[in-house]
Subunit: 128 residues, 2 copies
């Protein structure tokens, strides 16, 4: 579904978002991600084999929490489903790094495969 | 298990933490919570009947993300299990409000029942 203008305004900023996935035992897992918006997709990036990558391969349902950096009592919870691809994964992390650090991604590890993630948003829940 | 000193140092600050629960359809849900630490329990509070309360009644496994307010690239993910009780729920939200707002909780709704939540931490995962 379309992403609201309010969510888009947060996604366009270099905010630290919380990403929740479901672990293999059903326990929720939460990490911090860089993200951006492209059209009606929320995009982020990870390295192949990380826990969140394995979780999303097993269950593509995720939730992203966006805190308004100007108001800690205002936030959006976006629920949706992800599709992942290694194609464009390297470019994707560099694009995100340009947004967050102003330079290409400096933290690549030897032999690391980057994975680009596109999230379709199914619902938005706003607080504040 | 015991809570590490590093996590304790974050929990004692008035930070906005992300709380992930599992929704009825298995989709992760994430909200922002006030929290505190008492002994080896992470404590927070909600109103009876809210989605996260219903989720935790059905599945007590939760995950809390604590961002270091001084370093966005340092954070702790605490996974654990909650126990909930209405006993002390009113006092609990006032205690948290004193920590975060410096006054008793001003946002109570008519007829609202407050629920105190105690989380046993099973694992800590640190980044940064």
């Amino acid at each position: 579904m379309p992403i609201s203008d309010d969510s888009r305004a947060l996604l366009e900023q270099p905010i630290f978002a919380s990403l929740a996935t479901i672990g293999p035992d059903g326990h929720p897992q939460v990490t911090v991600v860089w993200l951006h918006v492209e059209g009606d997709k929320v995009v982020f990036n990870t390295a192949a084999g990380r826990a969140k990558h394995r979780n999303m391969e097993a269950d593509p349902r995720v939730t992203v929490l966006l805190l308004d950096p100007d108001n800690g009592y205002r936030y959006a919870e976006l629920r949706g489903t992800v599709a992942m691809t290694e194609e464009g994964g390297d470019q994707g992390i560099d694009d995100l790094s340009m947004k967050y650090l102003g330079k290409p991604y400096p933290f690549r590890r030897e032999g690391e495969t980057r994975v680009q993630i596109e999230m379709d948003v199914n619902s938005e829940h706003w607080m504040g």
